[in-house]
Each structure stands twice: as C-alpha cells, then as structure tokens.
Amino acid sequence: MKNPIGNLNKVFDSRIRMGVMSILLMNEEVSFNDLKQLLELTDGNLASHLINLEENAFIKVHKGFIGRKTNTTYSITKSGEKAFKDHLEGLENIIRGVNKS
C-alpha cells in the first residue's frame, strides 16, 4: 500500500510557508508588507521563510522602488504552483482515504 503522506511536500509543513503559497496562488503579485499583514508576522520571521521558498524555486522575488522606499514583491513560479497543488491533492487524499474506510 502506498504511504498517503508520501505525497505531501516537506517544504509546506510550516504553516507560514503554506500561508505564503496560499496567498500567492490567489494573487499575482503581493508585497512583503501585505504578506506580513495577512499572516500577522514579524519581518525576520517572514523573511526566513521567504528565502526558503525562493531557494526551492517556488516563488520569484521582484525588487522595486516606490519613491525612495524599497518595495519587494513576490509571485509564485510554475513549479511552485505545481508543487503546492500536488500538496493540496495529497491532503485531500488523506481525508478521502479515511472517509472510504
């Protein structure tokens, strides 16, 4: 029998990384500050998770300016979208598996 948890992606175990992916799946481009506000996090905490997602090539970073202030925005990559959707499917399968038995 296949291990149902095998389909889950370790990267999305963290609620924060999962939250970031959920937001980026629904919105084309979201700024650092909006992510911070939506997930109710501190700067440092959010930044480390974003670096992790970026290293996995699940998100893209765009550095820009509004006037003199830096405005960093994030968007989801194709592979990020696929990985997160597979992860969601994995979660769904676990629930389905229980309902069947």
Binding site: R15, M18, S22, M26, N27, V30, Q37, L39, L91, I94
Partner: protein, 221 residues
C-alpha cells in the same frame, strides 16, 4: 486500533490545514468586511438627495414658467446657478454616501478584528475606481455638451459596471446588484425625462434592498 487512530488524526489535521488554506486564500483575495448597512446608508443618502433635487427642479420649472425640462434651458453660455446647485447637491450626496458607508464597513471590520485597508481592499478600491473614473469623466463631458438628460443613465451604467468589476474582489453578491444597475441604466436611456426617478430607484431603493439582503445573509445574529 492504534493505526486507525493515527490515520484519523492525520486526516483531521489535513482537513484543518485545508480549511486554513481556504481561509487565507479568501482573506487575501476578497474584502469580506463590506457591510450590508453600508448599502442601506448610501441608499438613504441617495433618497434624501433625490428629494432635494426633485424640489429644486420643481421650483426651477415654475420659475422658468415651462412645463417640462428641455435641454435648451440648460444650454445657455456657461453654467447657470441652477446647474451649479445641482452639481453641488450631487457632490454632497456622493460625499455623504461614501462617508456613511465607509463608517459601517469600518465598524464591521473592527468588530471582526480585520484591517480595513489591506491587500484585498486596495484591489477592490482600484478595480472599482477604474469604471467609476471613466464614468465621472463621461458625465462631465455630458454636462459640457448639454446632455443633462443622459446623466442618470450614464451614472447607472458606469456604476453597475464598477460593481460587476469589483465583485471579483469582495462579496460576490454585488455582481447582481451591478447587473441590475446596468439594466436600469440602459432602460432609462429611453425615458430621458424620468432620469431622476430611475436614478432614485437605482441608487436609493436598490441599495437599500440589497443592503438589507446582505445584512440578513451575513451579519444578522
């Protein structure tokens, strides 16, 4: 037994995670704090404004001694006092409607401890503003070319388009309110002298009915 308990809890966990994801997705893409009472208050402002406009038009007609409002009455050089009064009244109604509706939505947001100015409400504001700004410029153009008769239908159609556009970023119900406003505006094109009644119906009565439905659906305890 133990294995059974294990899958049970991992399923529960998965369900919880999925619900979390759904909540975050919704919160990040839709502004859900829009209050039904905002619609009601905007509708009341519109009704009060329409009442004043009606009595102003009535007085003006008697003063001018004519039976009906013909476009020629307004096409004198520049704008006359009556026209400025109507424009002032329209701006006052707009400001009052915006202020009261923002107040009720702000109240709902703070009750649910949600920010009123966040990613979702910014997107809502921008997408609503695009058709509204186009409509505003269009209506100013109508006034400049003596097209007073078509101000009410233009307001209704552009406002309806703004609602349809905005419905992607807030409660989906306002899509149908938008469609009703558009239909009313199109219909009004063929009754140019009854513009004020259509305007009152669209901005006053429809807002109040819709606001009450939304309040009943989402906020009633």
């Amino acid at each position: 037994m133990a294995a059974q308990g294990n899958t049970q809890s991992s399923a529960e966990q998965s369900l919880e995670t999925l619900q979390d994801i759904k909540r975050i997705m919704e919160r990040s893409s839709r502004f859900i704090s829009l209050s039904g009472l905002s619609g009601v208050s905007a509708g009341i402002c519109a009704l009060v404004g329409a009442y004043f406009a009606h009595s102003m038009i009535y007085r003006y007609q008697h003063y001018a001694g004519t039976e009906s409002l013909s476009p020629e009455m307004f096409s004198a050089e520049g704008r006359n006092v009556f026209e400025w009064h109507m424009i002032g009244l329209a701006i006052a109604v707009l400001v009052a409607a915006l202020l009261t509706s923002t107040l009720f939505t702000w109240r709902k947001a703070s009750k649910n401890q949600l920010p009123i100015w966040d990613h979702a409400s910014k997107k809502l504001a921008i997408n609503m503003a695009i058709p509204l700004a186009a409509g505003g410029v269009f209506v100013i153009g109508l006034l400049d070319h003596g097209g007073w008769n078509y101000v009410a239908p233009a307001c209704l159609v552009f406002y309806g388009l703004a609602l349809v556009n905005a419905s992607k970023y807030t409660l989906t119900d306002i899509r149908y309110l938008g469609l009703l406003e558009i239909a009313l505006g199109c219909f009004c094109m063929y009754f140019p002298h009854e513009g004020l009644y259509f305007w009152t119906g669209g901005f006053g009565i429809l807002h109040i009915i819709y606001g009450l439905i939304m309040w009943w659906k989402y906020e009633r305890k």
